[in-house]
């Protein structure tokens, strides 16, 4: 009886963890996906970190202005 109870509790705990992981799967997967996305879009999207990055992005965009 005691042994059965312990087994049930362990199963329940596993289910709780699995449920939590499933519900929050996007958060857990985010860093990996983000890196993949960044690698894929690095050509298209600019790294806007410094003032020079912004100015260079503006310079590039000027080509679309008459």
């Amino acid at each position: 009886m005691k042994k059965q109870g312990i087994i049930i509790i362990v199963i329940i705990l596993i289910l709780v963890v699995a449920t939590f992981a499933f519900i929050n799967r996007d958060k857990f997967a985010a860093p990996e996906n983000q890196n993949t996305n960044n690698a894929q879009v690095s050509e298209e999207y600019k790294n806007l970190q410094t003032n020079d990055d912004y100015i260079n992005a503006i310079d590039d965009t000027l080509n679309y202005i008459s």
Partner: protein
Amino acid sequence: MKRTIIILLMFTLLASAVYAVGSGEIPRASPSPTIEEKKIDCDSLSLRVDRIKCRLKYGAKEENVDYDVRVPEACRTLRNPTACIALYKNVQQNRCYEKTVTEKDRCFKTLVGFSGNKTEESARNYMILLLYGIEERIEDANEAGTVSDDKAAEIIDLIVDIKQDILDGKKRADIVIKLNELRQKLGSIK
């Protein structure tokens, strides 16, 4: 007895699942009070550079401004400022400036439609957002004490000037001159 234990355990499982769902999003704190809320009327000042300096001094950062109350400086001189104000509201609502590096650029480009078939209008709007990004950086540097109020106001005033030229449909040659001036001013605060 056995059935009661199982029911209790099932209840615990459900409660944990509900808790997990509920804790998915943490509500954000509302933005800090704006200059309007502090009842300091920088808008009444006649010179733009003075208005900018006043807002810097009293901590009314652009990102916290309620654009239903105050028209952005760059939109003020336009004959029809509606689209310009909408652009500012849109970028504020989408929190583009809180995003980092490429995600920020992605946010800008998505908002103004500067991807795929790039039009001149989308390019001009994209440039407005990039200039706004520099403005934000200057405000942050001013807040951190690395750039003085006078210098920050001078640079932001020039940024607003360039934004007005872009929104007014000025030619590339006119914009480039002021952009070079901005580049020099930014270089002086490194």
